[in-house]
Symmetry: C2
Subunit: 411 residues, 2 copies
């Protein structure tokens, strides 16, 4: 008898009828001879409603109190799902974060899990019940309620799977799995049956919204297999698992894009030691994440520095940069919001060197200018004019034959 963790997002439990659907699916899984632990998010829209109440009171709510308020969303969901399963004649019991000992640090609104006790879940399973656990929430050593940040319920699911040594953590969502590209842009995009943690991590950080990076990281560290699948049908989705030989047989697994970044350029910066530290230190102090950084070759003792940040951070970064630019004697600061980052991801790149040039080649053939480039072991990203995004994604998907299973390193 296997132990399966199933995590359902806010859309899957968005109303009473959908909660009943989830109950049916959970019961079906149990009927197949499995023990089942279900992790649920708040009903779609509920978290926003609660945040709005808090923001009506203050623009900068205390994060401990915000967690008290927002964590009620998941609490309602677990109770309702438990009732729905019981109404269908099966044994179910709900648990909040504190009841199953989901210990976290005290970084409210973005807490990290430090340990899971899960004793009550084990007990419930032993008694033949379906255990329903509130996603997104935990408890500090001082018994304060915390939340785990965006996508936190995924993390709860994976962490429960690790704690209970589950067979698999099924993440139910409104897409069927991980695709070679966004199917809305590339009709030929193919659902991947398997993908490695590393590739999934790159995809998540590059803009694919299926899984949140932290939960993939956690799954990777604890060897938890994740099954991303749809809550609206029974099709198999995509398994996110440890890399194996077979995966390296394909150069590129997928192409992704991200339109949510903006580019900032500091022009004619005096090329002296310590300048970069000054520039980016000021941004880091505000907890703003910088993505790509490019520094041009120095001319006449001056250089241009460009970098990208998430669009919501742009205004704040520009404010900071205007001050710093004056201080270091740079000429001016310019920004561009009309950019997109297009990326290729694949563990096969490790053993194949021609991917970058093939990518540049493909974009060049389409007349698309590359503004910035960044690479890692298993991905290549290019920043381009955002109006070419769809064209670039389609062309790359085609060039690397992703719709047909991809090209092998030997090809």
């Amino acid at each position: 008898m296997g132990l399966i963790i199933q995590k359902y997002g806010g859309t899957s439990v968005g109303d009473i009828e959908r909660i009943r659907n989830v109950a049916r699916r959970v019961i079906e899984t149990k009927g197949g001879g499995n023990q089942v632990v279900v992790v649920v998010s708040a009903m779609a829209g509920e978290t926003d409603r609660l945040l709005d109440l808090a923001h009506q009171i203050t623009k900068a709510p205390n994060e401990r109190e915000l967690d008290v308020i927002v964590s009620t969303g998941e609490q309602v969901s677990i109770g309702l799902l438990s009732l729905a399963i019981q109404e269908m004649g099966h044994k179910a019991i709900s648990f909040m974060g504190f009841q199953v000992g989901i210990q976290t640090d005290s970084a409210h609104t973005k807490a990290r899990i430090t340990g899971i006790d899960a004793e009550r879940v084990r007990q419930a399973l032993k008694e033949g019940a379906i255990a329903i656990v509130a996603g997104f929430q935990g408890i500090t050593a001082e018994e304060d309620v915390t939340t785990l940040g965006r996508g936190g319920s995924d993390l709860t699911g994976v962490a429960m799977a690790a704690a209970l040594n589950a067979e698999v953590c099924e993440i139910y969502t409104d897409v069927e799995g991980v695709y070679t590209a966004d199917p809305n842009i590339v009709p030929e995009a193919r659902k991947l049956s398997r993908i490695s943690y590393e590739e999934m991590l790159e995809m998540a950080s590059l803009g694919a919204k299926v899984l949140q990076s932290r939960s993939v990281e956690f799954a990777k560290n604890h060897g938890v297999p994740i099954h991303v699948r749809s809550s609206f049908n029974n099709n198999p989705g995509t398994m996110v698992v440890k890399e194996d030989k077979e995966m390296e047989g394909v150069v590129v697994s997928g192409v992704t894009y991200n339109k949510n970044e903006a580019k900032i350029s500091i022009m004619r910066v005096p090329d002296k030691p310590g300048i970069a530290a000054k520039l980016f230190g000021a941004v880091a102090k505000e907890n703003i994440v910088i993505d790509m950084i490019i520094q041009n070759i120095s001319q006449d003792g001056h250089t241009d520095i460009s970098f990208t940040v998430a669009k919501p951070d742009l205004r704040k970064v520009l404010q900071i940069m205007d001050g710093v630019a004056k201080e270091i004697g740079a000429e001016k600061v310019i920004s561009d919001e009309k950019i997109a980052k297009v990326s290729l991801v694949g563990v096969g790149m490790r053993s194949h060197s021609g991917v970058a040039s093939a990518m540049f080649d493909c974009l060049g053939r389409e007349g698309i200018n590359i503004q910035m480039i960044s690479t890692s072991e298993i991905k290549i990203s290019c920043v381009i004019d955002s109006k070419y995004t769809e064209l670039a994604v389609r062309a790359l998907h085609d060039a690397f034959k992703l719709g047909e299973g991809g090209i092998s390193p030997e090809a």
Copy 2:
């Protein structure tokens, strides 16, 4: 420096603006040199919304899960009030039932408080913060969330006052205090400045909705003075305190009524030992509370038995009675929903014997027929035709001079 507990009901925290009003009043109390612990209910309408979600899933929800769902209402309130107080520049911290150790038994939806630790509240007060505690909820020894039943937040307030040895528990509501009669019916009704626990208990059980019986009982047992007052103005309300000599100086403190009961009569019951036990045992088994019981004098070995129950229980009780009546050979079962119970309450009755006859006299003069009578040491209740309720209340209020301070036993 005194310690004051303030409890605010759902109407008082019904929207963001009202929450801000509560915040101001709490801060004002603290500014007066007091330590303040605030107990809040769910925002008006929220508990019903949550109950409705549960009832959309099942007609008979599991009570443990119901408590998980419903207790979120108070959790949202404490977070919002804490934010509002902080926004006004004062230190505040919210606590759920489990965080301040409000231990209860495991009778979900109507749990009894078995103990309060309150250590975190003490700590918060010591640090100069205003402590905000979720009303209505507690936690079992097994760490399951419970709720305390109707009016449970009053109970939380009184229990916190007892645990912390507070000066007073202020219960804020939408009326100004306890009146000699319902002011909507009797314009001359007078606000009582003081009333004894015993009188308050009788009034609560007789239909006055200001305070719930269990919280008065708890206050009485622990000697907690309760101050019932309005959250919409600063007028002093009514103190509910230990009985003293002065209180006995008035025969009747107030007149109340209750239209929420129905009368059931079992006609021509064979008058044999054990019959009453059979009748009422069947009802007790369903946890239905019976109020007044009357058995007529036996004729030809048969008797009529009448009793009252809360209207929502009527249908169920009739079902039970139809079965039992047949079994014991009674002639028939009839019921009447058009009744009202009108009552006089006053500790002065203990030392004065003429109250009952004065009451019957008064009702008789108005041509009102008395269907049932029940008395205790400090109250007399008469069941009458409900259409005479207002007439009876006004006539009694007048006859016992309640608008003018009442009549003394020597009068």
